[in-house]
């Protein structure tokens, strides 16, 4: 987690626009409802609050029910072709109370692909999608010189479900000497973790607690509930074209030949028409 915090300066852009864009509907709703409670209904509110949340606090599951959690599903899909793709994640669940519920997808991206943080910044302006990267990204390095990167995707609520479309890009791979034309890059299924912004302490066995940044601004760490029954799905994959390493000799020879030819015709013409 330290590495995330170290990379703080690069996220200043995200931070600056926080007040403009990051206010999710839940956040507004939360503030509004609290204002109402404390300004107009403060005496009753205390009793209502105790009645409503007192019982859940005993179990400390923050209003999440096991049956509801079991309806959660995550589908991952890769759209478009070639080097520039879209990683589309949809979180489905049965209808229920979503007040203050926040979802977070934790992806462990392989070294064969990368995410462009600057493209994410403009994406945030356009769609509001927020993504946090765990380490700086080299946009130009080939796959074998790159590392895996963890990304935190804060999906957007869209027509009763959470949905996130993240642009990903394939890296160039080492040429293949074995005649392979494509490299299969697999993206592991993401971890889905949840929390509600109404309660800070989660305890909901057998669900595990997962520590992750509370928001994309990466200022503090929160406890999230890890939804584990989703993890057994197959990874999605994309194919990246590979150079043919067995062609080194003909390619070098071809280059030498053509460049020599071009040099000769150019030199001949320069020699003929130049004034020395």
């Amino acid at each position: 987690m330290n590495r995330i915090l170290e990379w703080g300066p690069s996220f200043q852009f995200f931070r600056k626009h926080k007040t403009l864009r990051a206010a999710t509907p839940f956040f507004f709703f939360f503030i509004q409802s609290n204002l109402l409670m404390f300004v107009f209904l403060s005496p009753c509110a205390v009793t209502v609050y105790l009645v409503l949340f007192g019982s859940t606090r005993a179990e400390n599951n923050c209003g999440l029910s096991r049956t509801w959690l079991e309806t959660l599903s995550v589908t991952v899909d890769i759209k478009k072709n070639g080097f520039h793709r879209e990683l589309v994640t949809t979180i489905g669940f049965s209808p229920g109370s979503l007040d203050g519920l926040e979802a977070l997808l934790v992806y462990r991206l392989p070294s064969g692909i990368y995410i462009d943080p600057y493209q994410l910044a403009s994406l945030k302006e356009d769609t509001g999608l927020q993504v946090l990267l765990s380490s700086p990204v080299d946009l130009e390095a080939p796959a074998h010189l790159s590392k895996k990167v963890t990304i935190f995707v804060y999906p957007l609520l869209d027509q009763g479900g959470f949905r996130a479309t993240v642009p990903i890009h394939g890296r160039y791979h080492k040429p293949s000497l074995a005649g392979k034309s494509f490299e299969l890059v697999k993206i592991e299924h993401p971890k889905l973790i949840l929390r509600t912004n109404t309660c800070t302490h989660l305890s909901f066995p057998p669900y595990k607690i997962f520590d992750a940044p509370c928001s994309v601004h990466n200022l503090s760490t929160c406890q999230w509930l890890e939804i584990q029954h989703l993890e057994k799905q197959d990874p999605v994959s994309l194919e990246i074209p590979l150079g043919d390493g067995s062609l080194v000799a003909p390619v070098c020879a071809g280059n030498l030949l053509v460049i020599l030819l071009c040099c000769i015709i150019l030199s001949r013409s320069i020699w003929k028409h130049g004034v020395f």
Partner: protein, 414 residues
């Protein structure tokens, strides 16, 4: 229709219209960026703006990864943050139109009538390529105006101004550094060090040639441009340290971009990226470039416009990395060379079509690789080689059909 054309050929009308067209393109860009997913603005423009933002925050512009330009550019673009996001684009289109203006003056200097100069100028000013590139927020037009203004000042014999502009141009982008030899040779000729056709031993001739290089004009030019170049570099090195040298110059010198581009070398460099002799291959690739540049300098330094045009097109065509924005480097010098070409318009258009066809043949497999995921590396490589052959052929045609300056002057004298 004819009236419209003749009206367009009036100087102030032409320049107003071309500036207005670019303004409309900038406005259209703002609209398209807001409404559609496919952005009009060049990705580099966002890089510049991000770097400028770091400067306004008192940080180094190199905190923006892939910012590989002089900090001067980011400094110039700080109004992007303080005033408005389109400031840079307005600056670039102004430079673009200014380039047209400089082209006009060079053409007049080379003896063209006002109307003829306007007609040639319109090839730059009403050309969708530079207009599109500058209104999308690409900074090439700044360099174009610096290079052209250097040429104009040299032709007008304003050495100090030329030297300042040249130092600035090389500071902005390293490629005009290759013009140093033709400039030195032409200044040596100005000083009258030529015509030692007495038969001497080769080493005496070579020595005499070297001595004749050290004339007052050349020392003045080298001193002033060197001072501008080194002064700016020292200033920015002091401000931003090693990052500045690494990103602005060393990166471009040692650049070994294995991703597909127009260069004939791309596939070779990709396939040999891991091998121990990749460094030597990269260095060997400089050899044909250097030899041809030397030859062109010696052969055509009497006509700097032609010499620089050939220099840049050879440099770009034989470079290890070549993207379409590099084409503007030599295209901005083409209008200056064009009036002296004696080929028929039909042939000229044929060569132009050939050039575009070469790009099209490359773009098709590159599109299928990048956006459809087909393995077309071999086709891209072959298309890159074909494009080099086409470029060489066009350069040969230009050299063969070029009417040199001095014959015209001697004709006039008669």
């Amino acid at each position: 229709m004819e009236r419209v054309v003749s009206l367009l050929m009036k100087k102030h009308v032409l320049f107003t219209v071309s500036f207005f067209v670019r303004l409309v393109l900038v406005g259209f860009g703002v609209y398209q960026d807001r409404t559609t997913v496919v952005k009009y603005t060049d990705i580099d423009y966002h890089v510049f703006t991000d770097a400028a933002r770091f400067i306004t925050q008192g940080q180094s512009p190199y905190n923006r990864s892939t910012y590989r330009y002089t900090p001067l550019l980011a400094w110039i673009l700080t109004p992007n943050i303080y005033l408005n996001h389109v400031f840079g684009k307005l600056l670039f289109i102004t430079c673009d139109v200014l380039s047209g203006h400089v082209i006009y003056h060079i053409l007049r200097q080379r003896g063209l009538s006002c109307e003829a100069a306007c007609r040639v100028c319109s090839l730059w000013l009403l050309n969708p390529l530079p207009a599109g590139v500058s209104s999308r927020g690409n900074a090439e037009s700044v360099l174009a105006v610096l290079v052209l203004a250097t040429l104009l000042c040299l032709e007008l014999n304003r050495l100090v101004t030329a030297a300042v502009l040249y130092g600035l141009a090389v500071h902005m982008k390293i490629y005009p550094v290759t013009y140093v030899l033709p400039i030195a040779l032409s200044l040596q000729r100005l000083a009258g060090g030529e015509d030692s056709r007495v038969r001497l031993v080769w080493w005496r001739r070579a020595f005499g040639f070297l001595v004749s290089l050290l004339n007052k004009e050349l020392l003045l030019f080298a001193g002033v441009s060197g001072m501008v170049f080194c002064g700016l570099n020292l200033l920015f090195y002091y401000m931003y340290g090693w990052d500045f040298l690494q990103e602005t110059y060393l990166y471009h010198l040692t650049r070994r971009d294995i991703r597909h581009n127009f260069s004939p070398y791309f596939y070779m460099l990709y396939l040999t990226a891991e091998s121990p002799w990749s460094l030597y291959l990269g260095l060997a690739a400089f050899l044909p470039q250097a030899l041809l540049l030397l030859l062109v300098s010696l052969a055509f330094h009497r006509d700097l416009a032609l010499c620089w045009f050939l220099h840049t097109s050879i440099f770009v065509s034989f470079n290890k990395v070549c993207t379409s924005q590099y084409f503007l480097w030599y295209l901005c010098l083409l209008p200056v060379v064009l009036p002296r070409l004696t080929m028929s318009p039909k042939k000229g258009l044929g060569l132009l079509a050939l050039w575009f066809a070469g790009q099209g043949i490359w773009l098709a497999p590159a599109y299928f690789l990048e956006f459809e995921g087909y393995n077309t590396f071999l086709l891209i490589w072959l298309a890159g080689l074909l494009f080099l052959i086409i470029n060489s052929f066009i350069m040969v045609q230009i050299i063969n059909h070029y009417k040199p300056l001095h014959t015209v002057k001697s004709l006039k004298a008669e």
